[in-house]
């Protein structure tokens, strides 16, 4: 029988040093990577919003195969199943409001047309109760060293829904220097999407009552990212990324409308939303990994800005606390803030001419959001792990009311709350 002693700290250090020398990257690598050529992750996400809004059940399976010499193949398959009610963009009103589900081909029931109507009670937020969607998405990535100091990676993704298809590809190159303490990275990506909404894509900005629909539309996203990773200390790793992307094509949400109100605030009609056909986004992302004894802090900040005048700040912190016996607990806090798109409005005024671009999509509004959560993990077998994550997300819009008489006292853009539960299992062979 062969007795195996647990590795000493010196052994671990030498193993790590060898691994780092061979890895060709300043990023931290597991000393066990070479011994665990196949990693399997299986996750199940449950996401549920308040007030009967969207809920999601999402299984995710990921395989990572090490073919030796740091040549890695990574594939992920995601299935999304969504249901519930989703806001259609209109504001609450003092009188009942009737809308047609997007799959309808006419607002008025008539032979040869499909019409599914839903009515919203006075004071309630208009939401389409028939929202249902399934999504299948796959990612495949390959990375390999090029010489001693460079790593090449490339991959692609594809996803499909009933009303949306997306394919994309990306490639990146990283270079290590300064005794592999510094890594410079650069990458590009290209995405092509096709949008064919249920019932047809509405003509952006058109009168809702006319129900003008057109055929499928497309959009492309072209992006680039450069980054630098720096080992600061034995217990401190830092990365700074700058990302840029440009979207072009049909960027309008085909299911969103915007209310038109008169001078008293009474809703007199609706228009389909309309967004510019170009959008440029930039972001700076700064992340730190800091080991404080057996505890690990992950702290990041992201500043974003786009050509629709949306500025955003995100601060994210996770603290992984080792409880011993292969267990850990990880509290998580995230704070997010964004300003509104320059064409965002809660509603349009009947007396003013209709603008070229308009949207009441709550995602384009000014709001602050917080996420608070906790994750608990336990090792299972050799390098396996089982974990459970519980989080609460809350979004608080800045602009929720109007001084117009008919709208006073109505919550025009209510807070959003969501619960996130994720069960994860990881193993290696």
């Amino acid at each position: 029988m062969q007795l195996k002693r647990p590795p000493s700290p010196l052994h671990l250090g030498l193993m790590a040093a060898s691994c780092a020398l061979l890895s060709g990257t300043a990023r931290a690598q597991s000393a066990d990577d070479a011994e665990q050529p196949l990693q399997i992750d299986a996750d199940l996400l449950y996401y549920k919003e308040n007030a009967g809004r969207v809920q999601t059940i999402e299984p995710v399976v990921s395989l990572k195969k090490d073919f030796g010499d740091q040549r890695l193949l990574d594939g992920t398959l995601t299935l999304d199943s969504l249901s519930g009610a989703t806001p259609n963009g209109a504001i609450p009103a003092r009188t009942p409001q009737t809308f047609a589900s997007p799959s309808s081909t006419s607002l008025i029931p008539e032979p040869g047309h499909k019409t599914t109507l839903y009515t919203i009670a006075p004071g309630d937020l208009p939401q389409d109760p028939h929202f249902k969607e399934q999504r299948v998405a796959g990612d495949l990535d390959w990375s390999q060293p090029i010489g001693l100091d460079n790593t090449l990676s490339y991959g692609g993704h594809a996803s499909t829904e009933h009303d949306f298809e997306s394919v994309g590809a990306h490639a990146g190159l990283s270079h290590d220097f300064n005794e592999k303490n510094t890594t410079l990275s650069a990458g590009v990506n290209e995405e092509y999407d096709r949008i064919h909404a249920h019932g047809g894509n509405p003509v952006p900005g058109s009168d809702y009552m006319l129900y003008e629909k057109e055929s499928s539309q497309t959009k492309t996203v072209t992006g680039g990212l450069i980054g630098v990773t720096q080992v600061m200390r034995r217990n401190w790793l830092m990365e700074l990324n700058y990302a840029y992307d440009h979207s072009q094509g049909y960027l309008t949400d085909p299911y969103r409308i915007i209310s038109v109100a008169d001078a008293t605030g009474a809703v007199t009609g609706y228009r389909y939303e309309s967004r510019p056909e170009n959008r440029t986004r930039q972001s700076l992302y700064w992340v730190n990994k800091l080991a404080l004894g057996p505890t690990t802090l992950d702290l990041s900040y992201r500043r974003g800005k786009d050509s629709w005048s949306i500025g955003s700040d995100t601060v994210d912190a996770k603290l992984r606390i080792d409880l011993g016996s292969g267990m850990y607990v990880e509290p998580h806090a995230r704070w997010y803030h964004q300003s509104a798109a320059d064409f965002y409005n809660l509603y349009l005024s009947e007396t003013a001419p209709a603008p070229n671009f308009m949207s009441a999509d709550p995602r384009l509004a000014a709001f602050a959001a917080t996420t608070l959560g906790i994750k608990f993990g336990v090792t299972t077998g050799r390098n396996g792990e089982l974990s459970l994550r519980l989080e609460q997300y809350e979004q608080r819009p800045t602009d929720q009311s109007s001084a117009l008489p008919q709208l006073q006292g109505l919550d025009l853009n209510p807070n959003l709350k969501a619960t996130i539960v994720q069960l994860s299992w990881h193993t290696e062979y």
């Binding site: 790590a16 931290a28 996803s159 999407d193 990212l225 630098v228 720096q230 440029t280 786009d306 995100t314």
Partner: protein
């Protein structure tokens, strides 16, 4: 869109990075035992990160910045 403001911010940050990286910062290969811990990887929880990116992509106007990845979504 004021690209200049980002460039103004990125240049000093980048210079600081390189200036520091080439001198006082960094470790020797035999000093990487802490950095080699799996939880010290910058993307130590890739599935969590991908799920979060997808949730926030569907609820907020800003997304990404960390890396490329994931698929498009006609999220509602």
């Amino acid at each position: 869109m004021r690209i200049q403001s980002y460039v103004r911010l990125a240049i000093p940050l980048g210079l600081m990075f390189f200036a520091c990286g080439c001198t006082a910062m960094g470790v020797k290969p035999w000093q990487r035992e802490i950095l080699a811990r799996p939880e010290m990887a910058l993307n130590a929880e890739p599935i969590d990160a991908a799920i979060d990116d997808h949730i926030y992509f569907s609820k907020e106007a800003a997304s990404g910045g960390r890396s490329f990845g994931g698929g498009g979504c006609g999220c509602n």
